[in-house]
Amino acid sequence: MCVIRVEHLRKSFLLDKTAIHAVDDVSFSVDEGEVFGLIGLSGAGKSTLVRCLNLLERPDSGEIWFDGLNLVEQDDSVLREKRCRMGIIFQHFNLFMRKTVWENVAYPLRIAGQRTKEIIPRVEELLDYIGLSAHARSYPAELSGGQQQRVGIARALAMNPRLLLSDEATSALDPVNTELVLSMLRKVVDDLGIAVILITHQMEVAKALCDRIAVMENGKIVEENTVEELFLRPRHAVTRRMIRGFDEDIPLEHFADLTSAPVYRLGFRSQTVTRPLISDISRRFNVDANILAGNINALVGGDVGYLVVSFEGEEEAVCGALSSLHEDGVEILKLEPGNGQNNGVGLHAKEEVR
């Protein structure tokens, strides 16, 4: 069931009389039990988009459907009620520094006007869930970053939200705490079946958690796909730059400049990732496969891998090798020479052959 549906959302800011289109005609929807990733480089408009979703920022136009209502048309009192059905966690945790852990978690309940009698068991349950019962009387400044973010998660979950918004929730954490918070979020999704919109500029965070990913650039969603498909067949330059961002130092297109032979990015799904396909075609079609780069990624749905390969040999032999790979389910993308900025046209082997 669809938890939130966003239609043609726009938000721009005026800066020195020029309009910055921070969110530019964005549409998407997220289902129950789904983790939807929004990735993009810094300045892409991700934070503005989340702040529009809970109407902390008023969008210029567009619709946000949540709980059967178009939030954009609601008055303040309805918005406040809906906001707490939409938990949010932040990059810098944004805990109330002068309230104890207990009071931080209790805050949304108090604001909702619940009685202390009802609040106590709920807060205790939440603190137990995040494993910080022993720190109930501590102040946030006495906790590590990872612990603070767990308090943030408990506060966001206090009102039993249907949707959890996470804006760079792990970006301020070290790898160990990132791991901890991510597994906590995974647990939340599995236990509660709520929807999550996970915003990050770190591809490794998105790939560890997301079912589906949208890539943002200049306020627009430029590409949206399941994680596996995105890794197999990244269509947009930003996507490829972000995928390589965490495992390589140079853009894939760079490899096309290295050799005059055609260079391909071969994407392997979980079924093909372990098979010796390259040595197989090498033998059968008499082409030399020169492997320039490669990687395997563990994703939620299974492992995917890719190789950057240049083929040398008769043109026909190379075509034959490519169609054989295509039949085996390998995603093939021809990398055009350039400075790494070009979009790299996705070519299916079949089209190549003709």
Partner: protein, 218 residues
Amino acid sequence: MNEFVRATLETVYMVLTSSIISVVIGLPLGVLLILVRPEGLRPKPNLYRAIDVTINVLRSIPFMILMIVVFPLSRLLVGRATGTTATIVPLAILAIPFVARIMEQSFLEVDYGVLEAGLASGATIGQLVRTVLIPEALPALVNGVTITIINIIGNSAMAGAIGGGGLGDLAIRYGLYRRNSLNLFVAVAITIAFVQIVQFLGRLIENRLRRDGTSPAL
């Protein structure tokens, strides 16, 4: 009654009353300022500019001048232009803009993200002010009030020179005019002790409030 005891009580009365009045009016003004700032939660740039200019003008008037200027107002409000009660009027008038500004500065130190977290939890602006803005800024607010009271003590001593009563009046009449340096010394010593006590109590409360691991008091 001993002259010194009477003068001290007068000063305490003047200082406390005008401090309370200035905080009761200045704190809401500080909240208003932070909300209507151009980048605030309820931006009203014109209103902000108007209050901002008024505060700056009031704060640049020397206390003596202000006291004379508000003689008619004092007469209107408390029935007389001189004396302890009458002096409360200029003391409070000068302290209100000071308190408003110092509260605004304290509120500015509260991280915007923390306010956003409050709003995202479903708080109204009023709830946000009461449950997040003021509590989060409290140590800085206490510090601001301490500075305000010390300023008022200084001004109240000055008020003594033109018929304001209290320790300043005592120092001038008994100390200066009668050339009794012992009296002058005692009046000054009591004033200094008064400032020290306020300073000490302010620190104490502030330090207690900061026992949450956030930044230590200066």
